[in-house]
Assembly symmetry: C2
Homo-oligomer: 351 residues x 2
DNA sequence: ACACCACAGGCGAACGTTCGCCTGGATTCA
DNA sequence: TGAATCCAGGCGAACGTTCGCCTGTGGTGT
């Protein structure tokens, strides 16, 4: 095995032309059982495996899928994307594809990167995550006419394929759950207005509040970035409100934000759950081990990955099958941080 | 741009042979300024980029690096590997390589996967993580004569390249820190004996205890897997020991284990830090946000990735440069969970 | 004026496949 | 028995590069 065996080596050993070997191995040709036997024997003896580079050159394909992902800010963790990545790798393998990772660059340089990967024939298609409004990657790739599937709703024209999690449903469930626990003043720690994902989730909040016939005080909606401090500061802001206006429950966009909020509550000498309920998002692995255990909204990241790959492979094999846009529900996971609510004195008087 | 431009297209436009274009673009040939100008103009107009598949076929290379990684058990999170992965992707790109992900299979099937990736010419080399004693992947790849660099110490013969974090140093620092805080009975929540990484870290513990002249009670060493429950149960076990034998500080192998231990302490009505100090490992992003904030040992995962890629690329370019084994130090990050120790009455009497 | 050399640039071949068409011998049918 | 049919298998070409060698021209030294 000093040199890798090629079709010609196998052919010489089997006493046929190398093209015949190629065809037989791919079941493209009927041959006598005897010849077939000689060929398979030669393949086994030489340990022959087709050279994918040569194959790809001929077929103008690479059987590689590019996965564009943005390196996380230091210290920010995203278990959802981690699970998603594992999912697409496993799914791709089943279809005979592999995942090529590349970091997402900035602006024009980024466009060049995509163009390069496509034009140089490195990848056959793309998977994108972290889709935001007017994501610049979509038009770039559409102009290159390369198949793509996004994890996240896209609003391009023509429409492009995507799979997304309906975060609104989870938030809606969360609000309903809080209402059932007796909460009436429910706040939301949202993301900035430019965040598509954040707005979709927030919509679930408004919908559920309206459905429950509860008013929404503008002071209950605070927007900020994905970090602990935002949750901490925003909760302090809530706690500074007069008791009658102060929310008794908070829905957040991220577990880390929820953790910040929980800390602010505790530092005020209050108890999370009993005094103020807190709900996170993503159901980070540690959520269940926090004290109190954090109620959170979990995303079916694995399923998303499976669907994404399935859609992309169907595009790559030329099938223009119907619906290329899939929405999966998120799901509320109830734990201690949203249980045990005991309204304060004046509250109970009101009810 | 309906069809991708090739060397021949550029050559036709520039009025030279396509081989000349190839050589000029790679600076392998001196040409008249005039011809060079015509060629670069043609390249720009056609948006030509060399087809990497064809190039790789000719050069018998793929410029792809395989990264073998084991899908995590559900709910287990490993921010270290996440950071490591991002690091190798970025570093590889700088050298003109890309990272190909593939899930690690089991046993014989696994060997077949590696063989396939190499023999079919898909990847030029491998990066491995999660190295354990007698890792089966090393001999497989060595037999295939394919360059590899591991994240984790290997003890193969002939030796193979690796980069690893010296976890022992961090544990040593942790113990020294605990001793400085006044602790004398320090326990260790270790990993099973088959864990190479665990044993290396535990060695740091023994070394530091010996250096401080402190005896180690066998009851203080407990072994278990990487989960919350192990930390929780083991700590309960410690708490059941008679006060004079009970450890006042615990060093663990993972933040999640430390979290379990903290919970057991709190449930017993004791205070982490003041009564019993707890130290984690990996410095997970949430560690600083726990209550109390968790002292932990951080690994320079990003640097490890940079070194791994550098070593691999040097192997791939045929350089047999000297030292191919690098050990980077881990570092103790002190937070509340190991501060504020106040020995109980009888302890102070002893001192 | 002749041999020599440097150098710009061309040309054929090779990398390992896959694809489409061709060939020649055996089989079938009238 | 002759022509039409079938089928196993061969052959040349192509995918887009890179590599090594060859050629022709212009300049230089004697």
């Amino acid at each position: 095995m000093s040199r890798k065996a090629t079709l010609k080596d196998v052919a010489r050993r089997a006493g046929v032309s190398y093209q015949t070997v190629s065809k037989v191995l791919r079941d493209q040709m009927r041959v006598s059982p005897e010849v077939r036997e000689r060929i398979t024997a030669a393949v086994a003896e030489l340990g022959y495996r087709p050279n994918v580079v040569a194959r790809n050159l001929r077929a103008k394909t690479s059987h590689l899928i590019g996965y564009s992902w943005q390196p996380d800010r230091q210290g920010y963790f995203n278990p959802i994307l981690e699970e998603f990545e594992q999912s697409i790798v496993c799914a791709a393998e089943e279809f005979g594809y592999h995942i090529l990772l590349f970091p997402q660059g900035e602006g024009a340089e980024q466009a060049e990167t995509y163009r390069d990967l496509v034009i140089t024939g490195r990848v056959d298609g793309f998977i994108l995550s972290g889709i935001e409004y007017h994501d610049p990657r979509i038009p770039i790739l559409q102009r290159l006419q390369v198949p793509l599937v996004a994890f996240g709703r896209t609003e391009s024209d023509p429409p492009s394929a995507y799979v997304d999690v309906d975060g609104g449903i989870g938030v809606q469930q969360a609000v309903e759950h809080l209402v059932a626990q007796g909460h009436r003043r429910i706040a939301a720690l949202a993301w900035p207005e430019y965040s598509r994902v954040g707005n979709e989730r927030l919509a679930g909040y408004f919908q559920a509040m309206a459905a429950a016939g509860l008013p929404v005080d503008p002071a209950w909606i605070v927007r900020g970035e994905s970090d602990y401090n935002y949750g901490y500061m925003a909760m302090q802001q809530f706690l500074a409100l007069p008791p009658a206006q102060r929310p008794t429950a908070v829905v957040t966009m991220l577990d880390l934000i929820a953790i910040g909020a929980m800390r602010a509550i505790e530092e005020r000498g209050m108890t999370v759950g009993r005094d103020i309920a807190v709900i996170g998002f993503d159901d980070t692995p540690v959520a269940r081990y926090l004290k109190p255990a954090l109620t959170s909204i979990s995303q079916p990241a694995w399923e998303v990955g499976q669907h994404v790959v399935r859609l992309l492979v169907s595009q790559l094999s030329g099938e223009t099958t119907g619906c290329q846009q899939i929405l999966l529900p998120s799901k509320l996971v109830i734990r201690e941080s949203s249980l045990g609510y005991q309204p304060a004195e004046q509250e109970r008087a009101h009810v």
